[in-house]
């Protein structure tokens, strides 16, 4: 594996907000096909790291490489077009649009008809729109969401909204998918469904996934490798077993005294 170039390489990246180092010295290598977890206590900088990867923030130090190509400074929409797509911690669907439209928007860059073509309703417009719609419907079927096709996104049950957000992120045909707390607010049954969904999409779409999650059952259950972030720095990485027993991780989560107490 080491000889291959990693799909995503984060090379000493970090960001400063004024004098505050929110995230720093991040070193990560994610290889194609991996399912990697990113955990850490609240405020550790997990979402900030996602925002760095997706271009919402521009790193003030280090670099981020996708397939050996530098992503620093590209606007988010270009990074999405290059193959990183994401979901959000608090669901960000296009609430007043239909489920179908939500997915079709992710197919935006697939069709090439221009604004003028659409205004004049030239043939290219119809073929492009038709292709988008057909693909989106096919896609919704894969996620069992096609029955909700014309429903407004905000009217879906919570679990289905999460599902739709993941579907939408996948419709942008990413190489790397970033899931930000996909199980937040879910009950055990829904979490279980989600685990199956994550395994399913990974196989179906040959994806590489990075997952932020607080639900340890889910993280330990699906992730092959885990990075642990605390106070903006990576404090540990490894397979779930190692992470579970890593004193630094226990310390970050439970505090120093407890961990030393636990060791004794």
């Amino acid at each position: 594996m080491a000889t291959n170039t990693p799909l995503l390489k984060v090379d000493d990246a970090g960001i400063q907000f004024g004098g505050l180092k929110a995230v720093s010295n991040i070193l990560m290598e994610i290889h194609k096909g991996e399912l990697v977890g990113l955990i850490g206590p609240n405020g550790a900088g997990k979402t900030t790291l996602f925002n760095l990867l997706t271009g919402v923030y521009v790193p003030t130090e280090g670099s981020i490489l996708l397939n050996n190509k530098k992503l620093n400074g590209l606007p988010p929409y270009k990074i999405t077009q290059k193959g990183i797509s994401r979901t959000f911690q608090n669901i960000r669907l296009f609430n007043d649009l239909s489920v179908l439209d939500n997915v079709m928007i992710a197919y935006h860059t697939l069709a090439k008809h221009s604004i003028l073509t659409s205004i004049l309703r030239l043939p290219f417009h119809f073929s492009g729109e038709k292709e988008m719609e057909e693909k989106a419907i096919e896609f919704l079927k894969v996620f069992h969401l096609d029955t909700y096709r014309n429903e407004k996104a905000k009217n879906l049950p919570y679990g289905q909204q999460r599902r739709l957000e993941i579907a939408r992120a996948l419709a942008a045909s990413p190489k790397l998918l970033l899931l930000d707390e996909p199980a937040a607010g879910m009950n055990p049954q829904e979490t279980n469904d989600l685990m199956n969904l994550i395994r399913f999409i990974r196989e179906q779409f040959h994806l590489t996934i990075i997952l932020i999650e607080h639900d340890m059952q889910l993280v330990m259950g699906v992730c092959e490798r885990i990075y642990v972030l605390d106070h903006g720095r990576l404090i540990a990485q490894g397979i779930p077993e190692e992470i579970r027993n890593n004193p630094k991780v226990i310390e970050a989560y439970l505090g120093e005294e407890v961990s030393s107490y636990a060791e004794n």
């Binding site: 929409y77 999405t80 659409s118 009950n187």
Partner: protein, 324 residues
């Protein structure tokens, strides 16, 4: 033929529009319609163009712009220069009015569309005022006393401009570009994360909206015999904004209906000049209390005729629980 791919309802509405056009044209030519009503009909159509063009910017793309009278002014003066100063034909004036306004939309759009919400509103308000003040101080276009413009905006010109505007905005909205604009309105961060170039679409909507506002300006100028900078003040922008808000943000037919409704109310209230603004405001207040979502909400007229697709509730994954 791609043009035949439109739905039956589409051709029905086009047909209806043409019938209305011919009836009114017939009445005007025959002289049965007195000039007061003719003028009102022209005014309604021009206001529809304005409402629909702002609808694209505010209702579809969600960019709160209150400088629309600025584009109207640019279009009006540009077209007046073409016909009155240069003596060129009217169709060229309409086109020039649109293009001049679109260019000003581009110039003003690129720097201001980084702003959001209130800040964008203030910036566009500033743009409207700048246009007005510039026109007030340029002697070539008559300064404060304005420009004499001959009446050229006849019913066919106005009608076809209106029809083309509505069609263009509708076609834009129901395409991948319209959806991109909608996604910007719904959630700009998510739109960005879906690969949509949000700045591009905000500017595009701004330019298209400005273009049609410029066309409305050309018609406006050639309907009133005289244009003065004071016609294009802040209140004019607010008038247009009210059409869009009252019609229901995001509803094309709503903007059209409210432009028709409010123009009629405002025209008839001219008989009571001392209470006119009070009554007009009362109508707005009552409307907003009883229909806070606007006349049409986000719905379109056509959605009342469509049969709702029957969707069978299938429990495919047993995932029916909702948690707060």
């Amino acid at each position: 033929m791609s043009i035949l791919k439109q739905s039956k309802g589409f051709w029905l509405s086009i047909g209806l529009a043409f019938i209305v056009f011919f009836i009114i044209q017939f009445l005007i030519v025959g002289g049965q319609l007195n000039p007061f009503y003719v003028n009102m009909i022209l005014l309604i159509s021009i206001n529809i163009i304005l409402a629909v063009s702002l609808h694209l910017i505010i209702g579809i793309t969600g960019q709160f712009s209150i400088g629309h009278a600025g584009f109207l002014a640019v279009g009006a003066y540009a077209s007046a220069i073409i016909t009155m100063k240069l003596g060129l034909p009217f169709w060229l004036a309409i086109l020039t009015g649109g293009i001049a306004a679109a260019l000003s939309g581009l110039v003003i759009g690129i720097p201001t569309l980084r702003l959001r919400g209130d800040y964008l509103a203030i910036a566009t308000l500033g743009f409207g005022e700048i246009v007005r003040i510039i026109l007030l101080n340029v002697d070539y276009v008559g300064g404060a006393s304005g420009m004499q413009v001959s009446h050229m905006a006849t019913w066919p010109w106005v009608f076809f401009s209106m029809l083309l505007t509505i069609l263009a905005i509708r076609n834009f909205t129901y395409s991948r570009h319209g959806r991109a604009c909608l996604s910007v309105r719904e959630d700009e961060i998510a739109a960005d994360a879906m690969g949509i170039n949000t700045t591009y679409y905000k500017v595009a909507a701004f330019i298209i909206g400005a273009f049609f506002a410029g066309i409305a300006g050309s018609l406006y100028a050639h309907n009133f015999y005289i244009i003065q900078p004071s016609n294009f003040g802040f209140l004019k922008s607010i008038d247009i904004l009210i059409y869009v808000v009252l019609g229901g943000l995001g509803s094309l037919s709503g903007s059209v209906l409210s432009a028709v409704f409010l123009t009629i109310v405002s025209t008839f209230l001219q008989d009571y000049p001392e209470t006119r603004m009070i009554l007009y405001s009362l109508v707005l207040i009552i409307m907003m209390i009883y229909r806070p979502q606007g006349l049409m909400g986000t719905k379109e007229l056509t959605s009342f005729f469509k049969k709702k697709p029957v969707i069978k509730e299938e429990s495919q994954d047993g995932n029916k629980h909702t948690i707060a």
